[in-house]
Subunit: 302 residues, 2 copies
Amino acid sequence: MPSPREASASLQSKMDDVVNAVDKTIRKLLPETDLHEDRLYEAMRYSALSGGKRLRPFLVIHAANLFNVDPRRSKRVAAAIEFVHCYSLIHDDLPAMDNSDLRRGKPATHIAFDEATAILAGDALLALAFEILADPETHEDPRVRIELVARLAEAAGPHGLCGGQMLDLIGEVEEFDVGTISRMQRMKTGKLMAFACEAGAILGKSDEPHRKALINYAYDLGLAFQVTDDVLDVDADPEETGKPANQDEQSGKSTFVSAMGKEAAQMRAEMLVQQACRHLNMFSGRADTLKDLAEYVLQRRA
Amino acid sequence: MPSPREASASLQSKMDDVVNAVDKTIRKLLPETDLHEDRLYEAMRYSALSGGKRLRPFLVIHAANLFNVDPRRSKRVAAAIEFVHCYSLIHDDLPAMDNSDLRRGKPATHIAFDEATAILAGDALLALAFEILADPETHEDPRVRIELVARLAEAAGPHGLCGGQMLDLIGEVEEFDVGTISRMQRMKTGKLMAFACEAGAILGKSDEPHRKALINYAYDLGLAFQVTDDVLDVDADPEETGKPANQDEQSGKSTFVSAMGKEAAQMRAEMLVQQACRHLNMFSGRADTLKDLAEYVLQRRA
């Protein structure tokens, strides 16, 4: 059995592989153009190629690997989901929303360009994600493609990302209990992570129990990720996280830390990661990469 | 042969039918909720149920009628397309974009609610449109559903609505010639109208020539609509149009009127409507309702 240090080095190299593969796919999907409106594509590229851990693409690709899916397919779906993630970040950062000037240590899209371009770039990334999933290059079976579209739409719409962000805004003026915060985060982060894992299973035409296991893993992982995020917000180094420290408290946001305290939040995250990994036991050793990722989410510093 | 007056009365009653049918479908798709985030749904309903001519739903339903499509199907697609239209209006009206406080004579969504809610309501309407199209209730054949999704994504994304709106913003500081304005309007208005007609053909599993004819009709109609819009902007009564007069000139926008003068624009619109109707000749008399609509677009006062 490898030591934790070795496991982490091997995970890091797998994460690097995903970053490189997804960057390459995104560059192909968003080539430079000589169109009059290239500024729009430039803003889309700026956001989609600004680094980031590519957690969702990692989930798609490694969930798909469990079913031996052709990586050319899973990489396209990974890029589509990353586009939706980037769209949500662009819109969340807008002055009318979280008003964040920095994202991943760089100027947010509305700072690097302007607000109008940022709104449109977000809109365009969302629409493009559906265009990619609906393309026969993603999968030759229309039933697979339409299922990907249906699940992404659910994760991105009022029952997912948008509803979660609405709750987040309400949480700035209203104090939420842990139950409401959990529901908000499930919508805001969990659903898209769950879809990332489920997409791997859909591409692989998985049976229902394995698909469910991946979804449950992703929900627990997503929540653990968010709890850790709230903890990191309190005491992280802005140089490492790429965003100002203590932003949540200053904006009066309801977070897991504000609702249950830092230590209890940390413990909750650990418990969630253990639970996430248990869901994967039915894959026996084949899902170790996804288990390693869950450990990483807990230990990360940014 | 009915006199123009009778044709117009019969068209008006068909337009009223579409308005009622689509309102009913939208109310079912966006029911009131007791969710914590109901404010989001409220803003979506506010925008989607704020009146409007329902031109795109009319195109979907009457194009579908040419192929005897079950109205339960075409109404769902009509609502989905109207959601995309509403999303684009909400975002276009934002202070960072066209900064319009009024829409259809009522406060724009970001005025009636707030900017953050308006951005999210737009996002959510876009995602929900895809959710509706991907649902088996829209059509039992996944090939039909995925084709609807693919075409909508194209019409809504960077090659359609978003790219067109980006060009529109560029046109505020740059002077466009008629060719560039036409391309901008084709992206901003034409593509979604073309999809509305094409969707009827897709639902009806039409052959290629009839599908192409409907698409060509819609592009000409869309352009005629936009040229008329520019003419109306110059000399319309704000009480009839529900928006301030001469808005385009004041914002320095490139329009058909600024590029070719009012009279030439009016003539161009008439020529486009004739051309639009000629595409429908292959349907013989069965497409008279769509031809009547084209005449209406030319004669409308708002």
